[in-house]
Symmetry: D2
Subunit: 307 residues, 4 copies
């Protein structure tokens, strides 16, 4: 938050078939369908999110992530960060307000890792879904499926982690919460935070640029992770791994795939941290335990199936 | 309970090294060490059990289960069941009171599946561990590790399931709670109950007689299953699979190995049933989901690693 | 189970208004409406119950319990128990099959405490609600409200506890699982079990005969108790106390009232016991902690509001 | 965090007897004793906290809070905020480094509500208790009692809420996360946050200045709240209310008293928020539900017992 970047605000995902994707994100994950646009994109959000949408689904020939957007505190901040990005040598594309319905002007840039990110300051304020503004109840009664609480973070695979790290920390004000270091002391995974969360965005080294590993949604409890696992089974959804715990972040988690092959995570818990905390460090030789704390071995799929 | 057999009372396990086994069963599972005998055997129990012991560890060259014992309601019942077993054609061995410290006369027989079982009516009543008799607190404060609640059941592998089923139901009064049926309608797994539990003992077909798959201990909650998983990792204990849920019984579970290679389960929840319930049936073609409800595939290890 | 009485099978409750009662038991507790009869009674059950109904609502001028029914293992048992009750001096009323839809012949008697009970051997087998017979999923996806798992027990207030105890243990085969004893050694509360449950029916002494304290439904987890508490608040349902734990049984619980003033409990956990366990004993001077383990004081309402 | 104030860093509490206070905060809450000083003060911290201490106990004739301290990001920030406080008209007292062992220079001021607060930039970094720096396990195995995760916030009672609000938001960079508004639109409770937490400090109006309502510690799960409740009962600790949920923040909570009469809270969950969220508003006429979501009535004790 040091530079005014506040939180992950949205992610646009490519899906092969919109209706099966909707059945997945809306009926299974429990996101709320908020709107559609003339391009055919569908806008969804998790119930605790106060802005209009956090997930945009776009039908395409290839799955993957188009871009991830961060909300900044105000227009002044957006202008300042735009200039900072330009000064840092980034190419900037400005997308006009309304290109995403209800969203203000977005400033898009590409990281050295090959991923597209956006900053924006305004989005239509719709409030928490299903709750009154005054005397709000604990939760809305009509949630579906996994009842995802919020879009939490993305994990991305790409190269040039050090340059990407520099951009995120020096220009955008993220700090390093957790990392994996190989035998040479090279950082091969970096979990970057804006808040007390263990990651708002994370990167793992891979030789190919711009790959998408997973989009993650927060759940409230370990019981909810079990419930998610049960629903994955009941709906014949493709599972990756879980329920289990991570070594990194110590979050409790389950991974699975949307019908287009994009990996999803739902998780709960996980360590908190502040910017004055030393980064939590795991050694690459112990990557199995770092990723899957209980099994202590990686499944090949987790490292290689990307979109 | 129709014939007076009440519950699983004990299991004697062979371990390769007594001290490492104790570190496992006492410090990790949280069983209480209750006694040792001149043969060097160690007696343990879980904290909610009112009788003196439920697990006996015997040092031996090969891991596995020596026998499993069931408590019957009284001496008359023991005498009657002994006669019933003889009438049914079983060979009977009577082990005198005191051969296991604090345990009365035991009547031992072998099932067609090749496993040894015992019946007994008396065991020293020590009460729940760590609680007062009057105004008992909710739980004792000094439990270790996984804080296992009780010895719950064994799962055994062997042949002649039908004959074993007949013996357990007709002579001993168990009823069939759950089963797996293959394409020919042959029962290849049978979960037998004396109570409202989904199994007090279970058998899965395998061509070799007398094999031991696992001994299972009850935990209170899904949080406790996570805690068990964490402890398995922290102690570098060999894990099999979990945390996950079973399709059969729907229990929430994790499997791991003692230092001798005997498989253990700790689990919570699971369906209840009464003797008038139709048996729950899973099809062998769906065995993956029947065993591991979330992954929906079997790991080879689960089917083949036996002691 | 020693005499063939298997479990609590149903309870008939008097409610002042059927539709508001239905909104409560169906929409809030999550019972399934199964049938209605020409008397206007409504039949409900919890989703795990295999028989057709467990709760019958009858509109009347006064709230309270008409009767509680226990299922016995078969007709022979029902005949034998009828004779045993007559021999014991009970007055017997036989209600013909079909008087409750789908239920066989019922044998009704009154306890010295002033309550009416029934025994029956047959009820239409409908199976667990919302699950397939083969390869059943872990739970059905369309449950409402608290998602009550089963009708578990009733707690009744009345006098002549000792005579009632004798009838339940000697004739019907219940055993004493837990009790409260006053300074004179007189039992003032008795929790009677047929199984490993801490109570299938319970009695607390009060000078007036035939009073109803609460009907209790089982939930799966402490998270579910919280969810029940939240729903009680969201629906402006009258709460009695909780979430909390009992000292007796150590169950985790919450109490509230149906629109007619009948007290309900939903709870999870609680100790298990077998018939060879010594009864758990609490002292009447510590009744506050025995009933409400955390607060350690009784609220007057819990002792005096009866229907 | 807009002004560089990072988080609640410590609270100094007055206790009537140090040893009984230690038994409470160390053995029951599970804080770690870190140090003592020549004044006889005892320093404790919760296991996830990376700095040396967060709770200081001082023996005194009257219970209550001496002061609460916030950590700021660095010395420059501390200097700037000192000047801002002076400019705002606050009296400032500077306490030299080392007056609290391991803590740098502290800048103390009094709020219009009558409470003393401090800012500091440095404290000895001891890391999370019981975990390795590299490849940290999920949790340390030797935690005691409630296993408190972190010192979370204080709730204070006093007058001049509006002036106090102005000081915290304008000078110190807090934002208003939740509030209670009376019929006149006057804010009678204000929950102020630096992060995504629902409160880092909170104030409720009362005519007397400088009163202490409670110090709160975070737990991980609702199971842990139950465990805390059980431990409160087992140790005959004075309970206030719970386990329950708040309407405000929706946290799951239990309140109790230390042996000196200072109120403690342990809680889990609770809503998150960002600075662009509209404050959550409850109406004073619904204060019962706002405070105790399940009971929906206040107990007199909660409003009047202060130290």
């Amino acid at each position: 938050m040091k530079k005014g970047v506040m939180r992950p605000g949205h992610v646009q995902l490519r899906v092969l078939n919109l209706e099966s994707a909707l059945a997945h994100y809306r009926d299974l994950l429990g996101l709320i369908e908020m709107d559609r646009d003339e391009q055919g994109r569908v806008y969804l959000k998790a119930w605790t999110e106060v802005d209009k949408f956090s997930v945009v689904l776009r039908e395409a020939d290839q799955p993957g992530m188009d871009f991830m957007g961060f909300k900044v505190i105000d227009e002044d901040c957006l202008n300042r960060l735009t200039q900072d990005l330009l000064n840092y040598g980034c190419l900037i594309e400005t997308i006009p307000a309304g290109e995403l319905k209800g969203c203000g002007r977005r400033v898009r840039f590409q990281t050295p890792s090959g991923h597209f990110f956006e900053l924006y300051a305004d989005k239509e304020y719709t409030g928490k879904w299903g709750l009154e503004e005054i005397n709000p109840e604990a939760w809305p009664r009509n949630l579906k499926g996994m009842r995802a609480v919020r879009f939490d973070h993305c994990l991305l695979y790409g190269d040039e982690l050090q340059a990407t790290y520099a951009l995120f920390t020096e220009v955008l004000g993220f700090y390093l919460a957790e990392q994996v270091i190989d035998d040479d002391g090279t950082r091969v995974a970096q979990f970057l935070s804006l808040s007390t969360k263990a990651h708002d965005v994370a990167f793992i080294h891979c030789p190919e640029k711009g790959k998408f590993h997973h989009v993650s949604f927060f759940l409230e409890t370990w019981e909810d992770v079990l419930r998610a696992a049960d629903l994955i089974s009941m709906t014949d959804t493709s599972i990756d791994i879980g329920p289990t715990r991570h070594g990194l972040t110590h979050g409790k988690t389950i991974y699975f795939f949307d019908p287009s092959g994009n990996r999803n995570e739902v998780f709960c818990g996980g360590d908190y941290n502040y910017q004055d905390h030393k980064p939590v460090t795991w050694l690459a030789k112990d990557l199995g335990k770092a990723i899957f704390y209980h099994d202590r071995v990686l499944n090949e799929r987790f490292l290689t199936v990307l979109t």
